[in-house]
Structure formats: C-alpha cells, structure tokens
Assembly symmetry: C2
C-alpha cells in the first residue's frame, strides 16, 4: 500500500483475485525475489525472512488477491495432496455417505478428494470400460492414493492400475485378496440387533432374510444366532423367510410368517428384518392385520436408510451401517499408507451401532 509500485499486472485493481496473478507478481509488488515469496507462503522452517519483509509479502498477497496454482505446485513438489475415489454414485443413497465421510476426513487432512463415477461396477452392459477409465483419469491427476467404494458389501475385482498407488477398498473386499479393505462388522451388527430384542423380553423372533448368500446376510444371521445361543435359545428354521430386498419382498415375507401362526400360537413377538426396505414392507403387513408396532409385534431393521427409518411411523429402530465412518477410516488408512507405513490390518471392520427409535 505504502510503496506499491504500480505494474501492468494491476490492470484491474478493483477486481483483486483476477486470474493469472502469479508469485512473480507478488514478488514484484513486494519488492522481493520470487523465492522469498515462496518461502513465506510455504512457511519454511529454516528460511530466514525478517518479520518486516514477511508482512510486506503477505500484504502484497492480499492486495493482489494471489491464489496459488495447485497444478504447478504439484508439478514442482512432486506431490499432489489429492486422493481419488471411484464409486457408483448412481443408484447409491449409500455411496454418498461414504463420500461424505471420506471428504470430510480429507478436508481435515488438508487434502482434496477427487471423485470419479463408475456407473455399474461389474456391469455386463456397454460401459464396462467406464470403471477402468475412471481409475485412469484419477491416475492422470496424479492422485497419491485411491479409494474404491461399493454400494453393498461384496467381493469386487479392481482394475490392475489400482496397484500403482496405495488403494483401499470400502464396503467391499478384493476378490483376489490383495488389497486392504474396510467393511462393516455384519456379525456384530446382527448380534446387537437381536440382543436388543432379547433385552426387550422377546424370545420368539422371526427373521426376514436377504439373499442368503451375500456377505451381509451371512454375517447378520451369524450374529443373530450367536445372540440367541448366548440366551440359550435357537433360531426356529420356520421363522426365517427370505425375500427380495425390497418393501414388497418384506411385505410378502412378513405375511408368510404372520399367516402361518395365529395370535398366541407360536407367533413371533418380534421381527428382525435384514434391511430397512424390507422392514418398511413388514410394517404394512403388520398394520394390515390390525396389529400395533411395537406393542403386538416389535420390528428391528438394518442399514439405517434415513429416508425410510426416520420417517416410518413409528420410527424404525435399526442397526446403522457406518458409511461415514468407513469413508473416514478409508482416508486415514490411505494417509498412513502413503506415508509409507505398513498395512496394519488387511481387513478392518467397523462397528454397526444400534439406533433406538420406537419400533421395539
């Protein structure tokens, strides 16, 4: 301000922050070398810059509206501070939460998260190549690490290019068993759900199952059986009904259970629905029969699909899938990997917390 020499660069002084202000412009304005500016802006430890010139430089930065060029910085320093995540953003109410968790954590670490879409992951469709392209694009940006997130817990095949930088899988695991992964602890989740029902006094519990082969079903059911076993109970095979993972599927499965047993005579007093969408359908089946939730029949879900669980009437008690936590943990794991630290655990499992609402 005091002795700022007007330069050509200040063509539009009323609009600071106009594009193309470089460190050289700042240096000229402050009357120092470009190196000095660089030292100040990167807060170098052992650089000796007097307090006076330091503030003069910072003033010039402010006045000109200088903004560093991330690309140039990455080029010169050979590090980008970027991570990449590829995920099916499409059908995915879940993927969003993973992204949010990852992005918030990245933001805390002063890193930037690049997001690339991959439409259907293992699609047979025409865009099988999209996923490879997504990885490719991210690597062109010279990301320092990669995250791969699936919308439901399952084994996946990841493009080979993922081997070029540290890569962590979220909500899925490497079918080839190489890459580290972060998954929900389905077993513990199933256990916590059923323990909650037991504590509420229920002894006869119906289960509305998913496709029995997917990891989620296997784990949750295992946890369910564990909890029952500890209470000296067993799961009645007649009370497990599988259905499509939709509200309609849940409705039909619930009907099947409720219609098999008249009131009192062996009818379960609680239903463990392996996901919230099915619980939504179960609600209808129960209400149709004039039964009250939770007085006549308690219902517990799984997933905590907010839009459903928090808006059903009564609000659904459920076990939450820890998407945000997994996203955050993914970034943390990536950070330690890119820092050169060894892989701590090949597969990290994250707890699924119980969310008590009003259906138990």
């Amino acid at each position: 301000m005091a002795n700022s020499t007007p330069t050509a660069a200040e063509a539009t002084p009323t609009a600071p922050g106009h594009r193309g202000v470089t460190m050289a412009d700042v240096a000229k304005a402050a009357g120092v070398s470009r190196t000095a500016v660089s030292f100040v802006l990167s807060n170098r430890e052992n650089a000796s810059i007097s307090e006076e010139t330091r503030t003069r430089i910072l003033e010039a930065v402010q006045a000109l509206g200088y903004r560093p060029n991330a690309g140039a910085r990455a080029l010169a320093s050979q590090r980008s501070d970027w991570y990449g995540i590829v995920t099916e953003i499409v059908t995915a109410p879940f993927a969003v939460d993973i992204i949010k968790g990852a992005q918030d954590q990245a933001w805390l670490d002063r890193r930037f998260l690049l997001i690339a879409p991959s439409d259907q992951a293992d699609a047979v469709g025409p865009n099988k190549g999209m996923e490879d392209a997504a990885f490719e694009k991210l690597l062109e940006q010279r990301v320092e690490g990669l995250l791969y997130a699936a919308t439901f817990h399952r084994p996946v095949h990841v493009p080979k290019s993922a081997n070029e930088v540290p890569t962590v899988l979220i909500n899925c695991f490497d079918a080839d068993g190489k890459l580290p992964s972060i998954v929900p602890d389905e077993r513990a989740g199933g256990r916590v759900a059923v323990e909650h029902l037991l504590q509420a006094g229920h002894k006869r519990i119906g289960v509305i199952n998913l496709d029995p082969n997917i990891p989620a079903a296997v784990g949750r059911l295992e946890g369910c059986r564990e909890a029952l076993a500890e209470a000296g109970l067993e799961l009645d095979p007649d009370l497990i009904v599988a259905g499509y993972a939709t509200a309609d599927g849940g409705y039909e499965a619930a009907c099947q259970i409720l219609d098999k047993y008249p009131a009192g005579e062996g009818r379960p007093t609680a239903l463990f629905c392996l996901n919230d969408r099915m619980a939504m359908g179960a609600y209808d089946a129960i209400k149709e029969r004039g039964l009250a939730i939770p007085q006549d029949i308690a219902v517990i879900g799984f997933d905590n699909q907010e839009l459903i669980a928090a808006y059903l009437r009564p609000k659904l008690t459920t076990v939450a899938l820890p998407f945000e936590e997994m996203g955050a943990l993914g970034v943390q794991t990536l950070a330690s990997l890119t820092a050169g630290q060894p892989i701590i655990a090949h597969q990290q499992m994250v707890d699924c917390p119980l969310l008590e609402r009003y259906s138990v």
Copy 2:
C-alpha cells in the same frame, strides 16, 4: 519391440504404468524427440509425422505404460478441462442426483468434475467459512467454470470469488440477480400434478402445503390453481393445510383434512401433497381410517424421492424434480459460457415430469 533400446526407465518392465514415466522416456524408447511424441499424442492437425514413426511412438507409449500428467498439461496449455461444483453433499439425497447429472455430462464432454463440500450453505454454525474455502480450493485447481447446487430451491448468496470464472447456479438462484441459474419449473409441475388428478375424475382436491413462502410452495400452488381454473374449479381455502415438510407433518395435515369432512360430505377424493415425505405421512392417516388408496382417496406427491415414492404401498404417483437434467444442463451451460458465448437465458427452467405409479 524390434529395436527398443533398453533404458534405465524400464527398471520394472513387468509392471508397465509404474509412476514417473514421462514423455521423454517415451521419446527415448521410440528414438524420436519429445516434441514428436507430444504431437502424436495430441493429434495435431498440421504436424507432419510419418505413419511409421507415429505407430512406433504409440507402441512405446503402450509398452512403457505412459500416462499423461494432467497437472503439467494444464500448466503448459493454460487450460484445465476441469469444472468445479460446490454443494451440500451432506443432508442431500438430492444433491447426489445433481452431481450425477453434471458428472455424466462432464464425462461426455471429456472434462473432469471436481466436487467440493460446503456443509450447511447459509449455516449460522461454526463452518460458515467452509463454503468460501470450497470455492477457494476449486479456484486453486484452476477450474474453468463453477457450479453451485443447493438441495432445495431457494435464493442464495454466492461468495464473490465465484465471479472470477463462469458460474452457474443449480436448483437455486442468485439473490443478487447476477448469476445465471437453472431451476425446476415448479409451476408447470404443480399444474401437471393437478391436471392428472382432474383427468382421473377428481373435482375436490385437498392440498398439503409446505411452508407457503418458499419458492417450491409458491410455484406448485400457482400451477395447481391454474389447472383448477382451466377446469372451471377453484381451490377451497379450507382444503389447504400447511405442515412441517416431514412424514409427521403430512400425517397431521392429512388428519386435519380427513377429520373435518365425514365421508361423502365434502371430503376430498384426492390429496395433492407438495412433497413425498408428507405424502408418506398422509398414507398412514388414510390407512388408519380404513380408507383405500387410490380407491377411496387418491394421493399424488412431488419430488420423486425414490426411496419413498417407489417403496410406499401402493407406489406413489408423483412429480419428479429433474435433478439429473439440471446437473447436465448446468454443465452444458458452463461449456457454452467458457467457450465465450453469451448468456442465453438468465434463468433456465426445467420440466418436472409426472411419474404415474399406483396411488391415483
């Protein structure tokens, strides 16, 4: 392959695509200058490279697993091919769809979409600064254009830095009236909804309203009145009930309407719910009274919140908010702006299509 000179760069020949393969490496491997490689890879028109060396270069690219460095390329060419979008990814089942639309379109245009989070937009909370930081971060990446997306249709204040590059608002509009925006055509949407009810023979229609002051409510109600007027009907003020934009709010509003009019005596035969969450609550109110949807009372929603609308029983007929289309249009608009073309329309309105399911 034939006469490839082994170089130090081929340290790990079994792992092509290892990091740090540069154009110079490719040039050396192909026995040409770096310039020649650059010409081939960027498909220059008036560069004369013989077909022979051309294929030799491409072979070297393949063999070494060369991958361009996007940052360096942006630095040299002074253009980045990147757009940025800042949005509240948080609470936002909607923002996701906007992002998807934008990202798919960007992908088609061979551009990359950088996503920055902005937690609560006009939050009073501690992270008011986050939004500015998001813009700042994106500008540091030298994005060529910016998108700003809100989760519900409303006026917004955008940080001044948005003026430095072309900026388009999506699902919101500039409170200062400067920036171009893309919003849903709420009025036409309300009209289409009510026309659909009229066509189904309904003449007495109840409206479950949102906060009457927000743009969505204003527009949708206006469209509703238009449709009625064209049929020679009027909206009975007694049949408009506002509530909180939740399932509970919808439940209470529906109760109020249904309890005021006993069957036959002026009870509406259809409910127009201004969003799907409220429709969800209205379903419960209707079912509780032993009425059937749509036989006794038809219900139509707005928003097409997939997780609700497609899973309610019966599935909800609703008017969709065109998030993906708005996202895509945003990128298209940005493309024309960055190409130097003038602003076509200050505010572009996108149609809200009717989705017929089973509740009317």
